[in-house]
C-alpha cells in the first residue's frame, strides 16, 4: 500500500514536470514559427543573444533578450531586405556555462552574436568567438579585456575605464570640493575596474577621495561598517560603482542610520527603480551615469519604452536599450557590407569587421556612435539624477 502511494507520487511528479516542460517550450516555439513565416520570402540572418536569464543578475540578461527581440520584431515587420531570426540562451553569469551556451547557439546555426551580457562570461566567449571567427557585438560587457586583441569583437556600451574616468570628470566639474568615499566590490571585475580608473582620474583632477571600502559577493548584505566609516571620514559624496541589488541595500541602511550624502552610481545602478520590494523614495536624488533614459522625449525612445511596457510590463533599463541598439547596429553593418543570409558565420564576420569602423549609427543610447578598430564605442556618457521616481537631467 505504502509502496503504491510512493510510486503514484513519483509518477505525478514526473507528469507535472512534463507539463511544465511543454508549457515553457511552447512559447518560444510559437514565436520562432511566427518569425520564420514572415521571412519565408527573404531568408533571415540568425542572431543569438547570451546572458543570465536566471540567477542573481537575471534582470540584465532578460533585458538584453527582450530589447533585442523588440528590435528584431520591428525590423521583420518593416519587411526590408534584412530579416532576423533570434534565439536567446541562458549563461547564469558563469564563463563555463556561457561558452557552452555559445556552442549551443552555434549548433543551431547562429551567424552573429549579440552578447554576452556580463563581463566575466564575455571574456571567455570572446576568445572562442575570435578563434571561430564569429562576429560578436556585446551590448553591455564593459571591460577592455573583452575586446583587447580581438578584431571581431565590438561593444555597444562604453568601457569600464571610460565610466570611471567620466564619473571623476563629472564630479570634478560639477561637484567641486566634494569629499568622496568609494565603496566597491573587490571580487567583481566590473566594480574593481571602474574603481581603479575613478581613483586614478580623481588624482589627476584633484578630487578628494577621503575613504575607500570594499565588500565581496559573500558580504554584500551588511554595509553598516562601510557607511559608518565613510560618515566618520566626513564624506559628503558616496561613489557606488556596483550593481543595483547591493546599491539598494546601501541606500536602505544609509537611510536607517540617518546618513544622507549624495549617492553617485554608474550603469550598474540602472534598474534600481524597477527592483521588486525596493522603496523608490530612497533613491531620490541618486545620481548615475547612464547612456539611456526612459524619459527621453525623442520619438524612438518613446516608442521603444511603450512597446517594452506593453510586452514585458516594465520600464526598460539601459541593458535593453543597448541590446536594441546592437540589433540595429548589426542591421546597419550588414547593409553596408552587402552580406546575404546564406553566407557562413565566418564570411559575415570578415565583412562586418571591415565595415564597422566606417559606420555611424544613431541609437537610443547615443547618436552618431562610431567604433575604432579595437572594438570600443565612442559615445558620450550622460549623468542623470532620480527625481520623483524617474531619471531627469541634472
Amino acid at each position: 500500500m505504502k509502496k503504491k502511494k510512493f510510486f503514484a507520487l513519483v509518477t505525478a511528479m514526473a507528469m507535472v514536470l512534463g507539463l511544465a516542460a511543454c508549457g515553457s517550450s511552447d512559447t518560444p516555439a510559437a514565436d520562432e514559427g511566427g518569425t520564420s513565416d514572415e521571412s519565408s520570402t527573404v531568408t533571415a540572418f540568425k542572431i543569438g543573444t547570451l546572458g543570465p536569464l536566471t540567477g542573481g543578475t537575471a534582470i540584465y540578461g532578460q533585458a538584453v533578450a527582450n530589447g533585442a527581440k523588440i528590435a528584431v520584431d520591428e525590423i521583420n515587420a518593416a519587411g526590408g531586405d534584412i530579416q532576423f531570426e533570434i534565439q536567446s540562451e541562458d549563461d547564469t553569469n558563469d564563463p563555463e556555462a556561457s561558452v557552452n551556451a555559445y556552442n549551443t547557439l552555434m549548433d543551431d546555426g547562429m551567424q552573429m552574436l549579440v552578447g554576452p551580457t556580463t563581463t566575466g562570461p564575455a571574456q571567455a566567449v570572446s576568445a572562442v568567438a575570435y578563434t571561430d571567427r564569429t562576429f560578436m557585438l556585446t551590448p553591455s560587457a564593459s571591460s577592455t579585456d573583452v575586446i583587447d586583441g580581438k578584431d571581431n569583437v565590438f561593444q555597444v556600451c562604453f568601457t569600464d575605464p571610460n565610466q570611471g574616468t567620466a564619473a571623476a570628470d563629472y564630479m570634478a566639474e560639477n561637484m567641486a570640493g566634494a569629499k568622496v568615499a568609494v565603496i566597491y566590490q573587490n571580487d567583481s571585475a566590473y566594480s574593481q575596474g571602474i574603481r581603479d580608473t575613478f581613483v586614478a582620474e580623481a588624482g589627476v583632477q584633484g578630487l578628494e577621495v577621503v575613504w575607500e571600502g570594499t565588500f565581496t559577493k559573500d558580504t554584500a548584505t551588511d554595509f553598516s561598517v562601510q557607511l559608518t566609516a565613510a560618515q566618520a571620514a566626513g564624506a559628503d559624496t558616496l561613489f557606488l560603482p556596483f550593481y543595483y541589488q547591493e546599491a539598494s541595500l546601501v541606500l536602505n541602511q544609509a537611510d536607517a542610520m540617518g546618513y544622507a550624502p549624495t549617492f553617485f552610481g554608474v550603469d550598474g545602478m540602472d534598474g534600481i527603480l524597477t527592483m521588486e520590494g525596493f522603496d523608490t523614495s530612497l533613491a531620490e536624488g541618486v545620481m548615475l551615469l547612464t547612456p539611456f533614459s526612459a524619459d527621453a522625449e525623442d520619438e524612438r525612445t518613446q516608442t521603444f519604452v511603450q512597446t517594452y511596457q506593453d510586452q514585458f510590463g516594465e520600464i526598460p533599463n539601459q541593458f535593453a536599450a543597448d541590446a536594441y541598439d546592437a540589433v540595429y547596429i548589426l542591421k546597419a553593418a550588414l547593409e553596408a557590407s552587402g552580406c546575404t543570409a546564406d553566407m557562413s558565420a565566418a564570411e559575415i564576420c570578415e565583412k562586418l569587421v571591415e565595415v564597422m569602423p566606417t559606420l555611424s549609427v544613431d541609437g537610443l543610447t547615443g547618436s552618431g556612435m562610431t567604433w575604432d578598430a579595437s572594438g570600443a564605442v565612442s559615445k558620450a556618457p550622460m549623468a542623470v539624477v532620480i527625481e520623483n521616481g524617474v531619471y531627469v537631467l541634472p
Binding site: 511528479m13 514536470l17 515553457s24 571574456q123 571591460s143 586583441g149 573587490n186 571580487d187 571585475a189
Partner: protein, 359 residues
C-alpha cells in the same frame, strides 16, 4: 575467499580503465568525423576536469572517510598556479602540449603544498569539524586569490598582495612587454587556451591509476583500516597522521592538476568560480556515484556536467528540472523501493519476465 574478492576488485578496476578508454576512443572518432555537436565538443575538457576532481575527492571521502568541503579550493590553487606557469613560460616553452604538461605539474605541486599546509592542522580533527575547516579553507583561498596581483615581464615574475584594496596591476611596475596574469578580483583574462581533450583523457587515466593503485596498495589498506576503526588501526601500530596525510595530499595534488587543465581551457578565470557551490557540486558527483566507487564517480561527473546543457530546451525551467532529476536519480540509486522497481523494469526490458506481478 580472499583470493576471490581480490580478483573481483581487479576486474572492477580493469572495467573502469576500459570504460574510460572506450569513451575516449568513441568520442574522438565521433568528434573528428564531425558527428559531435559543438556544444558537447566544448564540454569535453571540463568533463575530464570534473571527472578527475570527483575521483580525487572520492579518495578523501570514500577511501579515507573524511568529509571535505573545500575541494574546489585545491582546484583553484592548481588553476591559478597553472595559468601563471603557462603564461610566464610562453616564450621559454613554445610547444603547447609540453607547456600544458608543465603547467599541470606546477598546478599539482602547488596544490600538494597547500594540501600539506591545510592537512597538518586539519587532519587532527574528525567528522563535522574537519568538514567545516575545509570549507573555511576554500573560502580563504578564494579571498587570497582575490587579493593576488601577478604579472610577468623580462625580469621575471612580479607578485603583490593587494590586502588594502587600493593597489592595481600598475603597482607591479611591469615593463612595456610585460603581461598581467592575475588582476586580483578580476581574475585572469586573455589566457592562451592550450587544454586539449587528449590531455584531459590522460589526466583522468593518471588520476585513476594513482587512486586505484593507492587503494589496493599496503598504504591503501592502512587508510581504509583507519577509516573503519581508527582506534583499532592505531592499536596495531598504523601511523594515523602519516596515512591520512598521504591520502589527503594525493587528493589535493590530483585536484590541482585538474584545476590547471580547467584554467587553461577558458580564456578568463575568476576566483569566484571555485566557491563553496563548486565544492558541493563535486561532492554530489561522489555521493551520486557511490562512496569508494570510482566508475560511479566518473559516470556521475560526466552525466551531471552534460545534464544542464542537455536541458536547454526547458528554457527558464532548466535548473528546476535539473534539481528534480537530481532528486529522482538519488532516490533511484539509493532508495530500496525504487531500486526494486528499477531492477524489475530492467529485467522486463531484457526479456525476462518478473518473478511476481508488480504490486
Amino acid at each position: 575467499m580472499k583470493k576471490l574478492t581480490m580478483k573481483c576488485s581487479t576486474r572492477m578496476d580493469l572495467l573502469t580503465y576500459g570504460a574510460v578508454i572506450l569513451a575516449y576512443v568513441v568520442l574522438l572518432v565521433l568528434r573528428d568525423g564531425g558527428h559531435l555537436s559543438r556544444s558537447l565538443t566544448g564540454q569535453l575538457v571540463p568533463i575530464c576536469c570534473y571527472v578527475s576532481m570527483a575521483v580525487s575527492l572520492n579518495l578523501t571521502v570514500g577511501i579515507l572517510g573524511e568529509l571535505s568541503l573545500g575541494h574546489a579550493g585545491f582546484m583553484s590553487v592548481g588553476a591559478f598556479s597553472g595559468v601563471i606557469a603557462a603564461m610566464s613560460l610562453q616564450s621559454a616553452i613554445p610547444a603547447a602540449p609540453l607547456r600544458l604538461a608543465v603547467a599541470m605539474l606546477v598546478g599539482a605541486g602547488t596544490a600538494a603544498v597547500a594540501g600539506v599546509l591545510i592537512g597538518t592542522p586539519v587532519l587532527r580533527l574528525r567528522g563535522d569539524y574537519l568538514a567545516i575547516v575545509t570549507l573555511a579553507f576554500g573560502e580563504i583561498i578564494k579571498e587570497l586569490v582575490n587579493c593576488l596581483l601577478v604579472g610577468w615581464d623580462s625580469h621575471g615574475l612580479h607578485l603583490a598582495l593587494n590586502l588594502t584594496g587600493n593597489k592595481t596591476i600598475a603597482d607591479l611596475g611591469l615593463e612595456a612587454d610585460g603581461i598581467a596574469i592575475i588582476k586580483g578580483a578580476q581574475g585572469s583574462a586573455g589566457v592562451t587556451t592550450i587544454a586539449t581533450f587528449t590531455a584531459g583523457f590522460l589526466l583522468v587515466m593518471i588520476t585513476l591509476f594513482v587512486v586505484l593503485n593507492l587503494r589496493s596498495s599496503r598504504a591503501g589498506r592502512a587508510i581504509m583500516a583507519l577509516r573503519d576503526n581508527a582506534i583499532a588501526a592505531e592499536s596495531v601500530g598504523l601511523d594515523l597522521t602519516r596515512y591520512k596525510m598521504m591520502a589527503f595530499v594525493t587528493s589535493a595534488a590530483l585536484a590541482g592538476a585538474a584545476g590547471a587543465l580547467y584554467g587553461l581551457n577558458f580564456s578568463s578565470l575568476q576566483a569566484t568560480k571555485f566557491d563553496f557551490n563548486t565544492s558541493i557540486l563535486i561532492l554530489v558527483f561522489v555521493v551520486l556515484g557511490g562512496l569508494g566507487n570510482m566508475l560511479g564517480s566518473i559516470v556521475a561527473a560526466a552525466a551531471l556536467t552534460i545534464l544542464p546543457e542537455a536541458l536547454r530546451s526547458f528554457a527558464d525551467y532548466r535548473m528546476l528540472v535539473y534539481a528534480i532529476v537530481l532528486i529522482l536519480v538519488m532516490l533511484l540509486t539509493n532508495d530500496p523501493t525504487l531500486r526494486a522497481y528499477r531492477d524489475r523494469i530492467l529485467a522486463a526490458l531484457s526479456g525476462k519476465r518478473p518473478g511476481k506481478e508488480a504490486l
